[in-house]
């Protein structure tokens, strides 16, 4: 079998960039090229940074107020007359408050609405349990017809947004609030449904998605200093899933650790476990929230308490390697 997974060497981690700002700027850039692009906001534009778009294109920015269910329905109606609405709200509200609306008027009819969930994961600016998105990936992975993307950095986000405008399917785009380093070179090309190999290794395969992939790369560095040669695979697309890349990584390493800023239920860990159980049973560990609700607090404390640091990923790899099988 030919190894089709691209190996991209991460650049040294540069100045942190807030993904939400890239998102707002990229919407402006896309709007130059696509006259049908609209942005619908749930009264959070200065948080999601849709305000960058609103300043550039006031006539294509539609305020919907604090009414997410209605916002999704309106987006569906706009899509039927040829517009491409991009939704601006928090992942927690999008995925759950408006879940039935997304199912009934967007996903099943296959309408071209771009569902952007900002402030995903646990780092939501000290807002806590209501604002942390703990079910969004399970929701969208299990919804037929919805592409699910979680970029790792600003470069990949731009590529993903370009790809989203080229698609006519509904897409869920998982975004984060706080600045994080850039790992992809400026010419990196995002490919829908394709994993990216960020590091070769023989002892264990680490798989990350979204910005958690940055912590997975740090974990691989940690493991290297401890004599463990870890491969790192990044999955920017959870649906469609790159089964081939996951199976190949399992074949090469014999042990897999997944890590995500998300629950261990229903997200990356589940997707990988489902894939391997069916195609290549492989010992694995899942790093993520352990089926709990979050809380408010400083970022470092949250990552530590909820088990998401590079150290937690490295510890899971050690535990896997030391277990009898």
């Amino acid at each position: 079998m030919i190894d089709a997974t691209t190996l991209v060497s991460p650049i040294s981690m540069g100045k942190p960039v807030a993904m939400r700002e890239t998102w707002g700027q990229c919407l402006v850039d896309l709007a130059h090229r696509y006259s049908d692009l609209l942005v619908l906001d749930g009264d959070l534009a200065n948080s999601t940074r849709a305000d960058i778009f609103a300043a550039a294109y006031p006539d294509r920015f539609l305020e919907m107020g604090i009414a997410e269910q209605n916002m999704i329905g309106i987006a569906a109606g706009l899509a039927t007359v040829g517009y491409v609405p991009w939704i601006s709200t928090f992942a927690a509200f999008l995925a759950k408050r408006a879940l039935d609306q997304i199912r009934v008027v967007v996903a099943q009819p296959g309408l071209n609405v771009k569902l952007c969930g900002s402030y995903s994961g646990i780092l939501t600016g000290k807002t806590g349990k209501t604002h942390q998105a703990v079910q969004d990936l399970a929701v969208f992975r299990s919804m037929p017809g919805v592409v699910t993307i979680a970029p790792a950095d600003a470069v990949e986000l731009r590529g993903a947004m370009d790809a989203m405008m080229e698609m006519t399917e509904p897409v869920y785009l998982r975004l984060t609030r706080d600045p994080s380093p850039t790992i992809f070179p400026p010419d990196h090309r995002f490919q829908l449904g394709r994993a990216v190999l960020l590091r070769e290794g023989r002892d264990v395969g680490l798989i990350g998605t979204g910005v958690q992939t940055l912590r997975v790369l740090e974990a691989a560095e940690l493991l290297a200093t401890e004599g463990v040669d870890a491969a790192v695979l990044h999955l920017p697309t959870l649906k469609p899933l790159d089964l081939h890349a996951i199976i190949q990584l399992a074949d090469r390493t014999g042990g897999i650790v997944t890590a995500e800023d998300y629950s261990v239920i229903g997200g990356l860990g589940s997707a990988v476990a489902e894939t391997l159980a069916e195609h290549r049973p492989t010992p694995m560990r899942r790093v993520g929230w352990q089926d709990v609700y979050g809380e408010s607090g400083p970022n470092d404390a949250l990552l530590e308490k909820y088990g998401l640091t590079p150290g937690h990923v490295a510890a899971a790899a050690h535990e896997l390697l030391q277990s009898p099988g």
Partner: protein, 301 residues
């Protein structure tokens, strides 16, 4: 507002419009198809489709600018059946209007049918939105009307609401937004038959008759123009629809007073017929009554 431009929306001229007796006869035909095909499918709803039949006939044979040979015509008027469980009523009228052969009603609710229990826009040309989960139809209607404003397209968007589903909060989110964007190209029709599936307890008993109190006052308070009509009298419906189409600066609610199960004596006002299938004998009695109504098109007029 910069997005608002003067739109010229055609108004149906009296010339060429069907007469009231013609519309009444078409309504009776729609009701015959509804009871016949629910009986044949052994499934579906009756009370709601029968209460909505005159309104649907008026839409598809009197006011909507549509072309059954071009169901995707970009400038067509849009219609959303938010109370999606009345699908057989819409299918009967679409078939009568020529969107598909009447015989296809045979497939209603069957496997692989384009005529799903609840409307599926991906399957049947002529459906402008998929519905079925109640309370969701008005928001896409707001989106279509807003899209028409942005694109300066001269079509109207019509949404039929059930009186039970306006208990859903999303209806009021949509109502608020439609008024906020001054969508006078949006018209909602409330099929106010006052008979939901189960109802509410109240002091001294239990009632199905108050799904929502005073919807006219509620929609007015949300910034809508409200016009009331007798939803079974084509003269009254036409007057209300014509007023809705000429009103400017606000969306309009046509509050149509209707009777659940209208047209079949033993179904009228009986909640049991919300989703009950008639026996062979009941079907024959229903058809006999509906045949008789044609010669008395407008008994209350």
């Amino acid at each position: 507002m910069t997005m608002r431009a003067e739109r010229k929306i055609a108004f149906p001229s009296d010339e060429g419009r069907r007469s009231i007796p013609e519309l009444t006869a078409l309504s009776a035909e729609a009701r015959r198809l509804i009871v016949r095909y629910v009986h044949r499918a052994g499934a579906g709803h009756l009370g709601g489709p029968l209460s909505a039949a005159d309104l649907l006939i008026s839409l598809y044979f009197d006011v909507l600018r549509i072309d059954p040979s071009q169901p995707d015509w970009p400038q067509r008027d849009r219609f959303i059946l938010s109370k999606g469980h009345s699908s057989i009523g819409l299918y009967a009228v679409l078939a009568m209007r020529g969107f598909f052969p009447v015989e296809e009603l045979d497939t209603f609710d069957q496997i692989d049918s384009r005529l799903q229990g609840h409307p599926d826009m991906t399957k049947l040309p002529g459906l402008d939105m998929s519905t079925g989960s109640l309370g969701q139809g008005l928001s896409p209607g707001v989106g279509m009307a807003l899209g028409a404003q942005l694109r300066n397209l001269p079509f109207r968007t019509w949404v039929m609401l059930g009186d039970g589903e306006i208990q859903e909060g999303q209806i009021w989110e949509a109502a608020f937004t439609a008024a906020r964007y001054e969508l006078d190209n949006l018209i909602a029709i409330l099929d106010f038959n006052g008979l939901p599936q189960f109802g509410w307890p109240q002091a001294g008993g239990f009632t199905r008759n108050r799904p929502i109190d005073d919807p006219a006052a509620k929609f007015s308070a949300f910034g809508w123009h409200v016009v009331e009509c007798d939803g079974h009298d084509h003269k009254s419906i036409r007057a209300a629809f014509d007023e809705a189409m000429t009103h400017r600066g606000q969306p309009t609610l046509v509050l149509a007073h209707t009777v659940k199960g209208k047209g079949v004596s033993f179904m009228e006002g009986d909640f049991n017929w919300h989703a009950k299938v008639p026996t062979d004998a009941e079907l024959q009695q229903a058809l006999a009554e509906l045949n008789a109504t044609v010669s008395h098109p407008n008994p209350e007029a």
